[in-house]
Amino acid sequence: MYMNAVSPERNRIHPHKFTMWVAMGSIIMMFAGLTSAYVVKRAQSNWLEFDLPPVFWISTVVILASSLTIHLSLKAFKAREMPRYRMLITLTAVLGVAFALLQFAGFSALHKDGIQFFGAGSNPSASFLGIITGLHIAHVLGGVIALLVVFLRAFSIKNKVYTSVPLEIVATYWHFVDLLWIYLFVFFNSIG
């Protein structure tokens, strides 16, 4: 009954997946707004320059690795290799949290060097770094939560039929926040 209402060629992309793509456009605009503001502000007076501590390289490697694990977990899911899927998805979530912790380690390294992010005496260049990377961390953690939801749903008794769509959506998002970080990292290193 339900397939004949819509012609098949319209179903090439699942509406929820499509929504995710549009949402990513939206997130891009937010970060584009912030990084443009950064560029504009930088061109004006009173801009503090400093280098990013090496921890950020490690976190970059970690988030890249997590993209790999989520990719593999999706493959495992589709191949119905459930134990492998569970292992990989847990690993992905752990790497996501590790990324967030490493970012904070980066912040505190900067803080030790006397760079102040907020409050009196802070410079916009550091505040920008704090806010932009902070927002990015929030997006990564949002991905971790989504991952947990998908993961737990796979166990629920109600759900007898396995569909990979939710996992695919989370995986797309995960790769997206990964790429977003690469962009930000390059941005801060070259423009910063």
Binding site: M1, A5, P15, V22, G25, S26, M30, R153, N159, V161
Partner: protein, 605 residues
């Protein structure tokens, strides 16, 4: 996923094959699930509409109050003290209250009425019905979008009742007034609530916009190609795209503002001495102009977010009631596309006098004036659609024609303002007030009225009363021109906006009478809106019953549903579409609905 699967996705089972049944429209519905936490797009549309109407009354009332001050600056109204208390000591609105009213009026009308109330209502109502879908791509997100809007409304409303009053630094919330709690009473808790409400509002808009786009692109019924979409849908589509791409930028502006307010950063602040507390602030190196860039990057698209739905509905109503195909369908779509693209490239025309580099300014002049081209195309097409039509002057049609008139009047003054040299004189005067109230405020209101009068039979299964509607129309149209037209003269004479009392200027004494006149008309027009409100609510229960599915002889799909469609919209299968929506008066036939197959010797669209 198919339409049915989306409808059933919220019943708890996410598997595709779990549902072969055909019971859409017959879920067990409680009062709560039907009227409150409804996921039916039609009910959500009504929720947006009614919330928008409540806000329109409140926002309109605020303008009546501050117009009292502007029109009768020397009089006192003791009853004001009764309702406003300390904000109107001795029966005269205080300066602080005046600014708070102006600010809240602007915020509420722009965002809550003309964004949520307008596109929220009609995107929800018309998208599934006109593209032939059972509901939105994600009914859950749709419901959430309304509830985020609702909470935003509550937060904004609560700011009116707090000790220090609502935010009072203008609807654009420029820093430093918005960033420094000590700058004015309204900058304290009022601004915190303003920011919270607006952040929630942005979330609501994003949830809504994502859903509209996904629905339009993925859930159209068989045969409904993009070029067969009614212009309403195209307009709502571009509206959603603009919102999804520009609200996040506003959000980033707000985030920086929140940090400046609460966490001592200096994005927007530099070298400030506060006379209220007699302190020099430590903030250094910030730039208030940065906020303006971020704000207007949303702000300008926002004005088109407000206008495009009105344009789409006016097109639909004009064509239906002129019994003629819309003139230049593809040109209409193309010009909306052009408007949507240009909307992102003109924001700095709000900042010509901020010290913007004049060379950069001239680029923005060019881009700004370019918008006049698609705007003119649309006007031309509306007029040619009307030309030699068999016009039926239904209330909706009157408002649609009124919309075209207002759009022309207000668009022309936009061309004045778009010239950076003229803008040096006109910026921040009543000329700007006149410009945007006519082209955006009143015009979009007219689009909204046209939409309500036109689709009311589909919403409630009854008609609104025509006599009341005509009275409402004429008072509102004439009143709107009488209110805003004279403001052009005040602006040309240099009268600045956002002042509490013009009595101190010798040069504006000449406008005392005029201001009193304007304020008097404001009161009349505000009162006339009760013709509409009464008509609306009375007709829900007592209006003449709709007895035919297609009362306006219209081509679009919503008129193929039952008179009172249930959740799922069509009882049987969703109809297939064979033609565009504008076959009026073709081959001697009054109208040919989109569901009628193309005949053998007919030209196809």
């Amino acid at each position: 996923m198919s339409n049915e699967a989306v409808l059933h996705a919220n019943v708890g089972v996410s598997g595709h094959d779990a549902h072969h049944d055909e019971h859409h429209g017959h879920h067990h519905e409680t009062f709560i699930s039907k009227y409150v936490f409804s996921m039916d797009h039609k009910m959500i549309a009504k929720q947006f509409l009614i919330t928008g109407m409540v806000w329109a009354v409140l926002g309109g009332l605020m303008s009546v109050l501050f117009r009292l001050q502007l029109g009768y600056p020397d009089s006192t109204f003791p009853w004001l003290e009764d309702i406003l208390g300390k904000w109107a000591k001795g029966g005269r609105i205080s300066a602080e209250a005046y600014y708070a009213l102006v600010t809240t009026h602007g915020t509420v009308l722009v965002f809550f009425v003309l964004t949520a109330g307008l596109s929220g209502t009609f995107s929800n109502f018309l998208i599934p019905l006109q593209i032939g879908a059972r509901d939105m791509a994600s009914p859950l997100m749709n419901m959430l979008s309304y509830w985020f809007f609702f909470i935003a409304s509550i937060v904004m409303l609560s700011s009116v009742f707090i000790e220090t009053g609502p935010f009072s630094g203008g609807w654009t919330a420029y820093p430093p007034l918005s960033a420094l709690g000590d700058a004015s009473p309204g900058s304290k808790t009022g601004m915190d609530l303003w920011l919270t409400a607006m952040a929630l509002f942005v979330v609501s808009q994003l949830l809504a916009g994502l859903n509209y786009i996904a629905t339009i692109l993925n859930m159209r019924t068989k045969g409904m190609s993009m070029t067969r979409l009614p212009l309403t849908i195209w307009a709502l589509f571009f509206t959603a795209v603009l919102g999804v791409l520009s609200f996040p930028v506003l959000f980033s502006g707000f985030i920086l503002l929140i940090f400046d307010r609460n966490f001592g950063t200096s994005f927007y602040l530099s070298d400030i001495f506060l006379s209220t507390t007699n302190t020099a602030l430590p903030n250094e190196g910030g730039s208030a102009i940065l906020y303006q860039h971020l704000f207007w990057f949303l702000g300008h698209p926002e004005v088109y977010i407000i206008l495009l739905p009105a344009m789409g509905m006016a097109s639909e109503v004009l064509s239906t009631n002129a019994r003629k195909p819309i003139f230049g369908y593809m040109a209409m779509v193309g010009s909306m596309f052009a408007i949507a693209v240009l909307a992102f490239l003109v924001w700095a025309h709000h900042m010509f006098v901020t010290g913007l580099n004049p060379f950069l300014g001239s680029i923005f002049v060019l881009l700004t004036l370019l918008i006049a081209v698609p705007s003119a195309i649309k006007v031309f097409n509306w007029l040619t659609t009307l030309w030699r039509g068999n016009i039926r002057f239904t209330p909706a049609m009157m408002f649609a024609i009124g919309f075209v008139s207002l759009f022309i009047s207000g668009g022309l003054t936009g061309i004045w303002l778009g010239n950076s040299a003229l803008d040096i004189h006109l910026h921040d005067t009543y000329f700007v007030i006149a410009h945007f109230h006519i082209v955006m405020g009143v015009a979009s209101m007219f689009g909204m009225f046209a939409g309500v009068y036109h689709w009311y039979p589909k919403m409630y299964g009854t008609y609104m009363n025509n006599t009341l509607a005509y009275i409402h129309f004429w008072i509102t149209l004439i009143g709107a021109y009488l209110i805003f037209w004279p403001m052009h003269y005040e602006g040309l004479a240099g009268m600045p906006r956002r002042y509490y009392d013009y009595g101190v200027w010798e040069s504006f004494k000449q406008f005392v009478e005029l201001n009193r006149f304007i304020s008097t008309v404001v009161i009349i027009v505000f009162a006339a809106q009760f013709f509409f409100l009464f008509n609306f609510f009375y007709s829900i229960f007592k209006g003449r019953k709709v007895t035919t599915t297609n009362p306006w002889g219209s081509n679009t799909l919503e008129w193929t549903t039952p008179i009172k469609p249930g959740h799922g919209n069509w009882t049987g299968e969703i109809p297939e579409v064979h033609r565009w929506a504008y076959d009026y008066g073709k081959d001697g036939q009054d109208f040919i609905p989109q569901t009628v197959p193309v005949g053998d010797n007919e030209t196809q669209h």
